[in-house]
Symmetry: C2
Subunit: 363 residues, 2 copies
């Protein structure tokens, strides 16, 4: 393996950058894992070698994210999109209402799927404000089975800064795009779930953290693979899990630990995002952000170049300069820099510098 | 990378052996894919680079498995186990009956899940014969939505040699453990599906090949991620797919092509299985097979050592000699050698030699 590795400035929204050290370790042991004469992909999921990988990943996730003992951690497949269905199937019990807070496209999709299982409403929505902000409070009904939020909105670039109080009603959060980007008080949640492909590893693994009492009162008459209890009761090994993805997730967790854990990762993420937000805010309107300032995401920085023609030019020149993934989501356009955990500070500095130089050249 | 790679004799039932050449190529390009400065895992699933990988995998699957134009090919998640639910959800239409042929544990599981969606029966079962055989014919009802079979039974080591005639009723086959181990006349099937982790790649990707007319008459009022049409209409890119698994599957397909395609792969598999079956058949009863001779699988060779104490000794000594995965499934015990496409002839020869030597020593 070469010592000088060419690396793109990868700002993809997901799948996205992985830590170089993790990729290099995976590369080194890809053909022969721990002297077994097999790739980690060739191990039986019932083997002691793989089970150690699997259990270590779960244990490290619990430790680093400070997941209390009264929560189960499971690995699923199908991305957050399948969770949009599984959550109401399991937790929207008879006679109850599911309460969705809409802060973007992913919340809308989650609500749409819930309607297959029963009564589901959007109690609060910031759609009329083009999803530029996070609501300051939520409305909780006595009869709510749960309140569902999207903690970070990849497409619009907004993020919950403080999580809403929902009293006795379980709060469920899709944290696909900011899980483990900072410490979170897990005890405020009934359930947290996330596709791994932004902050935790490659695509194909979904993490769910579920409070035990929710499982105890969940619907039971469900297809085996759509029932959380199947995964809980079998330590996520009821059927063959995505073994390589779980291995990679475990390696990313070790890398998080080596960074100094979530406190340090959060500081890094704040500093990284500040570099780019500063380039926007100090541009005298040459660039402007989509999200309102108090709702800005530290994971997905959405912005526009005020001049539409220059915006095209910006994206073109950025691509030529080695920046990847800066086009906004196809549903909204514009620009977006995703600065997940594994995006290095240098890449963010390089983008900020590029933005300033582009402005100086074209203003 | 070292030129002498230690390789285990990997007879795992799945996840299982992958071609060494594929692992070495994946290793070489793991950190920098095609000069992008990114791992294939770091590519956006919407990028041209990944879409080329994705579409090439689908095209090669169509070519090598000779999938006619009136069939769609999709990549799913959740393994065959989730398909056990999706198939009846989509295809067990109102007033119809689902017809399951039971040849082992996986068929039983498939039937169990179908019962959540409507009327589902076991029309034929070989359970009373301890699943030692494949039935010679099936019973098809006029009102059947489909007939479901498991083409190869991993646990019991049986395999359909000729597929049943089901007339106008679509035949659906779980081919998880023998897909692309030999040429198959796809036109006999309404749908074929398979978890990738035996013959096609790592775990975490499921392949489905679905005749278009089945899709046209399928149930529509289903959750988005449980509806085949979602995957068909979006070229399996509705949400983030398991990108690394699809890449690996594509590389395995190229390897199959390099072997000479399925005709040659089938010949290799026959020769490989014959080495081990001969060791059983020529042992004068020291070893005996579980499956009846006419139903023997070329993928999973299930056998016992007649003396139970010696069987324990056999598994112990085999493990010490570098053979991996020879214990039978935990539900049935005994011994099992899984000889999927990527298991080399040398490994099968080594096992046959070991079996003969063990017999000579202990008889």
């Amino acid at each position: 393996m070469s010592t000088t590795t060419k690396r793109a400035y990868n700002f993809n929204a997901g799948p996205s950058a992985l830590p170089l050290e993790v990729l290099q370790k995976a590369q080194a042991e890809l053909v022969d894992f721990q002297g077994t004469g097999m790739s980690v992909m060739e191990l039986s999921h019932r083997s002691a070698t793989f089970e150690a990988v699997h259990n270590e990943a779960i244990a490290n996730l619990r430790k680093l994210f400070a997941v209390p003992d009264n929560y189960e951690i499971v690995f699923l497949q199908g991305g957050a999109s399948l969770q949009f269905s599984m959550i109401p199937m399991n937790f929207l019990t008879e006679g109850k209402r599911a309460n969705y807070v809409l802060t973007g496209s992913w919340s809308e999709k989650a609500l749409k799927e819930a309607k297959f299982s029963g009564e589901a409403v959007a109690s609060v929505s910031t759609k009329e404000n083009k999803y530029k902000n996070i609501p300051t409070e939520v409305e909780v009904g006595e009869n709510d089975a749960y309140v569902h939020i999207t903690s970070n909105n990849t497409i619009y670039g907004t993020q919950w800064k403080t999580f809403p109080e929902t009293g006795n009603v379980p709060l469920i959060a899709d944290m696909s795009s900011d899980i483990m980007s900072k410490p979170v008080d897990i005890s405020k949640f009934g359930m947290i779930y996330a596709g791994a492909q932004k902050n935790l590893g490659p695509s194909g693994v979904t993490v769910a953290i579920i409070r035990k009492d929710l499982l105890e009162s969940a619907n039971t008459n469900l297809p085996t693979m759509l029932k959380y209890d199947t995964f809980v009761a079998n330590n996520s090994l009821y059927n063959t899990p995505p073994t390589f993805g779980i291995y990679m997730l475990g390696e990313v967790l070790k890398w998080i630990e080596a960074q100094g854990g979530l406190e340090q990762v959060a500081k890094n993420n704040e500093a990284k995002a500040a570099l780019i937000y500063d380039a926007i805010d100090n541009s005298n309107g040459f660039y402007y952000g989509h999200a309102e300032e108090g709702s800005r995401s530290l994971m997905n920085i959405t912005f526009r170049v005020a001049d539409e023609e220059l915006e095209k030019q910006f994206l073109k020149e950025a691509e030529e300069a080695g920046f990847v993934g800066l086009s906004g989501h196809r549903s909204v356009g514009g620009c977006r820099a995703s600065t997940y955990n594994a995006v290095p500070t240098e890449a963010c500095q390089a983008l900020a510098d590029f933005m300033k130089a582009f402005q100086a050249k074209h203003q």
